[in-house]
Symmetry: C2
Subunit: 641 residues, 2 copies
């Protein structure tokens, strides 16, 4: 009997120690996925050391088990992504306004680093269109890439180093949480806006313009295109449109027949080769078709001395580095996560950040700029049958051969071919279907997405992303400042189901009582709202109910959904209680959770209302209130008689 | 029968229209207290116009009912607060480094405006020590009050105008929500730090120093005090300590015998009078005791032309105006709310903001600086028996008489007396008991409080408040990024109570099922955390349970506490479902709320898992799962046989 009733009492045990609460808070905040779970289970210290090694250097786990059969798969996939890496490397470097050779360098060193430290089997390392564009547009505010290419390049490396350091720091401090604040809606809008801008910028290449704007806003770009109509070259445009049509056709083939993905994967490389041959034999340059120009043979030179921390310029690489670090992480982690889910594996975002960070830090010392795991390239890698991170090594070896022997060949690549490759690569980023989906399911997410999109195309890439994140944060704060709460009613008299009366209009109230369900933490940002709202519920209820017979005598607060409370919240509970007291209404608490009880007990609120006013379930509370309502009426009746 | 089972089904009705959701969202966000509630109930349009008038000009409601008996109470209270207004006005003006007469002006016009538009009966209008100090310290960065007093004064008026406009705008836009972000912890720390600084600054007055620092940080102030020991005047210090002892004694009397509150209320006025008489007869100035100096007779001059919007200086008054607007609102609204709760009345914070805003706008045109409803003065007003806002009018009339006839008398007020009055007034703001209470109940709130306190005393008032609010916001975001969630267990087999197994260690799991309770909205900032956490729960559970017999087949998610979900959240549900699918685990949703269903239906998630996987109560869900577990085993058994 005692055991039974004990079971149904609210637990009033004294709060856990600060250290316990703090430790569990830190653990939930920074280690929600418990990465050392397997490690802790292992008793042998030798095995533990090995597990730790495997954790920090994933290559140490798969490499010993590696065999020639796996290599065959990885070799084919590696060749495929290398054929994509060459044209994309050259193109995106042009987008970043740096020498195309840097794009090739960037597909050599970083993939090797990732192969050692990265944990995803399918990610293919490479440069990103959006980041290339963002680095360039941010740095151009300080230094012109045309007038001062060396300084500009130095700042690009500096931005890469800053990105890498930031990524490494975020990973080590397990602050992957910050990347969560870039919502899908923000990324969809940002990518769409950036892709639009990039496509427009390619009009320069397509029309063979020599003068162009350094601004990225749509107005400036269109003005630049149409103010130099005299520079338009029809030859260039014809070649560009042919290449573009070819590339888009291969994309279409891939979509219709996913097995033919390799057609679209090698198409850019084919374009580059055809373009080079055509330009070489047709002396294209004389006919208004610009070519890439001299590319030096040889491996990545060291770039320590190019890093530039001059106070005059440093703000630009810092801004570019910070923003691109987040964008690169968001893309790289999202793709890694998608593959993990598809294959029912686990990812640790923070560990991936460390790998990306190391890759960019080493990259910045070896003439590479920002790299990540681009979505398109990684998807090709996966489809081509990649089995381990060895594909990145194969790609790097291909790049090594290109850099040592073939680089000068690409001198003849027509710029218009690169423009066509860029357009066909980024046009898929304009995800209008996703935007429509957002519109259908969540108008606020759609607003966040559109803010990023229009911010990017009309103001600047930085501003666009910041406005969008700002709106998303305001919404996050509104969620906490205006938590949902509702009045509960009984769904059917025979059962003890109490649900939101708005959602289930059949739910009926209990005479003499008002049952409210509160959600979310109660604390400074929402406590005065909750007070106003609760008092308004009482006022409304008093208005409806017959003042003679069924006035409210109990307000029951279901705290089951209240996950925590702070001191302001406790004070507001006191205020509400005082106000109710004046109205002769008793406050009943139902099912307060652990973290809430740990504040209510030292805050003396439980002492104030008494332990008898705290119940474990709605039923118990209503039963007890009904009983005392009845006895109250009987007493009144006796007095009246 | 149909009716019965209908009652227990989850409602799958199609989402409400966007307009409906948007309207109710706006209403909850901006009008949580439903200020026009009484207004809407009224059918007659004439009565409605009158109610609207009463709402916007509260004086129109109480003035017609006003009578001589009420006036007697208000008159006495008004005289009492006027006797407090004179010394405080002079003192705080000195704190703001402006002429003492401005302090007297500020107790004349603003109270009249408040009497018309303000809705609180007990608030007494006056200047605030903390705001005076903050305005001065912010403006001093741009202009010296000693070298250029007229320009400085102009900027003080400009800051006041900006404060007023901001307060008015916040009130009209019903953005009272922003004031909620100044938590009690922040205000406690800020007030304590400011009071400490103000007390230290008074060492200048107490020791009669002539040279002093314009910085507010504790280090600068102490250095200034001790680097000019040659200027110390023992006469001044003796007089100061005597006054201070007297004032603190009257405070002590008030605390011991609350009925004698008037002793401490008139004590500052008594000090000023005694000080004036003493200084006049003893020629105090010749003995090292500085006096206030010339005060002109006459009413507030207009100050339109003093307002200064020069681009060179404007950033300082904007900063000062914005921060003091919030501080003044926080203090004024908090005190109004306290009185309302004590007297079981309702307050509308947004309406009060409009009154404060109008009062400061008009004030800035009539040589007044920032005013609000200071806590101490309002408490005196309440204790002195104030019945309506007429007390403010009585005080204003007293100030009128003082300005017209008595101002020059206060010329002889010794500065040291003012310092003693300031110290005794602000020393009560150092609320170490509250800080200790915060420490006991909530370590994070204590950290927020200490950040404000040390930020204010070691860096600057602005920085202190910003760091503190910043930490509080980070916590608010952490709440949404890391929502609490728990595993539920059955408390006793006979009853259908499912509670947190951590809080109630007696709760037992259900074989083959994992019951999880999620709290808070699910959206971009926390969705990937929730995915990781849910997958970890599954992993941990699979580890514990015997893999042969009782492997998990169902994961039941109790969504009762999930108040909303965004598109990222829905996508993550898909990811979790996909992952579980691979592990052959079925996902069951329990009691999704209205706002959540409205996202899950168009997001096609309900289609994905099927309506049969959504239950209204934990019991129903467990019942159904148990049944299918049983039938599954039977089938297996048959197959095996």
């Amino acid at each position: 009997m005692t055991g039974f009733s004990q079971d149904h009492k609210v637990s009033f045990k004294s709060p856990r120690s600060f250290a316990t609460v703090f430790k569990s808070g830190i653990k939930e905040t920074l280690f929600p996925d418990d990465p050392f779970y397997f490690f802790k289970k292992e008793p042998s210290s030798l095995r533990r050391a090995k597990l730790a090694m495997n954790y920090f250097v994933p290559a140490s786990e798969w490499l010993p088990k590696y065999n020639s059969k796996l290599f065959m798969y990885d070799f084919l996939a590696g060749i495929t992504i290398a054929s994509l890496a060459i044209p994309q490397g050259i193109s995106y470097a042009k987008l970043a306004n740096i020498s195309p050779i840097i794009g090739l360098y960037s597909s050599f060193v970083p993939p090797l680093i990732y192969a050692v430290f990265g944990s995803s089997k399918y990610i293919a390392i490479g440069t990103l269109a959006a980041s290339s564009m963002l680095i360039s547009s941010t740095l151009e505010e300080k230094v012109s890439p045309i007038d001062n290419p060396d300084l500009f390049l130095g700042l690009v490396f500096t931005a890469t180093l800053i990105s890498g350091l930031l990524q490494l720091a975020l990973g080590l401090l397990r602050l992957g949480i910050l990347v969560d604040f870039l919502s899908h809606a923000t990324i969809t809008g940002f990518m769409g806006g950036t892709a639009t801008l990039i496509c427009l910028q390619q009009l320069k290449g397509i029309f063979g313009l020599k003068h162009f704007t350094t601004h990225t806003s749509i107005v400036d770009v269109l003005r630049a295109v149409f103010s130099h109509t005299d520079e338009w070259r029809w030859q260039s445009a014809v070649v560009g449109i042919i290449f573009l049509a070819f590339l888009l056709f291969t994309r279409y083939v891939k979509e219709k027949r996913p097995k033919l993905f390799w057609v679209s994967a090698i198409a850019p490389m084919a374009c580059v080769i055809i373009g080079c041959v055509f330009a070489y034999f047709a002396h294209a340059e004389k006919h208004g078709i610009q070519i890439v120009g001299e590319l030096k043979k040889g491996l990545n030179p060291l770039s320590f001395k190019d890093l530039n921390f001059d106070r005059k310029y440093i703000s630009a690489p810092i801004r570019a580095g910070v923003i691109t670090a987040f964008i690169a992480l968001a893309e790289g982690i999202a793709i890694g996560r998608s593959f993990a889910i598809m294959n029912n594996e686990q990812t640790d975002g923070n560990k991936e950040m460390i790998a990306f960070g190391l890759m960019n830090i080493v990259g910045s010392f070896t003439s590479c700029y920002l790299t990540s795991g681009p979505f398109s390239k990684s998807a090709v890698n996966y489809n081509a049958g990649a089995k381990t991170a060895m594909t990145n090594v194969v790609m790097a070896v291909c790049m090594l051969l290109v850099l040592l022997f073939l680089a000068p060949v690409f001198k003849y690549t027509p710029l218009v071919t690169l423009s066509a490759i860029i357009i066909s690569a980024v046009v898929g980023l304009i995800d209008y279907q996703k935007a429509y989906h957002l519109f259908k399911t969540d108008k606020f997410d759609f607003l966040i997405c559109m803010a990023a999109f229009f911010g990017v195309i009309f103001i600047s890439m930085e501003t666009g992303i910041m406005i969008s994140v700002g709106i998303a944060l305001v919404r996050a704060l509104l969620y906490v400042a205006r938590p949902t709460n509702c009045k509960l009613g009984n769904l059917s008299n025979s059962m003890s189901l109490y649900r939101d009366v708005e959602q289930y209009p059949g739910a009926t109230g209990i005479p003499g009582m008002l049952l409210l369900q509160l959600g979310s933490p109660i604390y400074f940002a929402n406590s005065s709202y909750l007070r106003d709202r609760i008092l308004r519920y009482i006022r409304e209820e008093q208005d409806i109910s017959n003042p003679e017979e069924n006035d409210i005598e109990y307000v029951l607060l279901d705290l089951g959904g209240v996950t925590s409370i702070d001191t302001t919240g406790v004070e507001v509970l006191f205020e509400i209680q005082q106000n109710m007291d004046a109205k002769k209404i008793k406050m009943i608490l139902i099912n307060p959770r652990l973290a809430v009880m740990e504040k209510l007990i030292p805050g003396k609120f439980i002492d104030k209302i008494g332990k008898h006013s705290v119940f474990l379930s709605i039923e118990d509370a209503i039963e007890a209130c009904k009983y005392s309502l009845k006895s109250l009426k009987e007493t009144n009746g006796e007095n009246g008689a």
